[in-house]
Symmetry: C2
Subunit: 85 residues, 2 copies
């Protein structure tokens, strides 16, 4: 069984209130190194058999059409899960 | 400026209704290859300067204490964003 990982993030110009809430909380918990936080979505799709180029192309298309909102989000990565390799 | 990526997923034994909803929709849109879908969270934390081991350790601790619920979630990856390397 193979797995495809799809990472979706808000476009840089879009305000990220969740990320800002986390960025505001981190210093209060003693994590002062971080200047900004963005939060997005990570999908792991399972397929029977290996992750082929065809499967990756299907995953990319599914990411663009179903798993992200192209107006406010970018699909930043579509790749096979290494631990399956 | 460096970036640390933190991936958080539901533990395998935890029911994922969002993932199931996506898994149910994919065949209807013509993506019949995928047998299961899990949805999680992806955080990108920005730091001034490079991503050092100390920064990664801080990010790992922030992930365990603030960015995930250890009862139902696993921090599956904490790594520097390649595009910064």
């Amino acid at each position: 069984m193979g797995h495809v990982v799809i990472d979706v993030m808000l476009k840089p110009e879009i305000l990220d209130p969740q990320g800002q809430a986390v960025a505001g909380a981190l210093p209060r918990l003693g994590f002062g190194d971080f200047t900004d936080v963005r939060q997005g979505k990570r999908f792991v799709l399972a397929v029977d058999g290996p992750v082929t180029d065809t499967v990756l192309a299907q995953a990319r298309e599914a990411a663009d059409t179903l798993l992200s909102n192209p107006v406010i989000e970018d699909v930043v990565s579509v790749h096979a899960l290494e631990s399956d390799a």
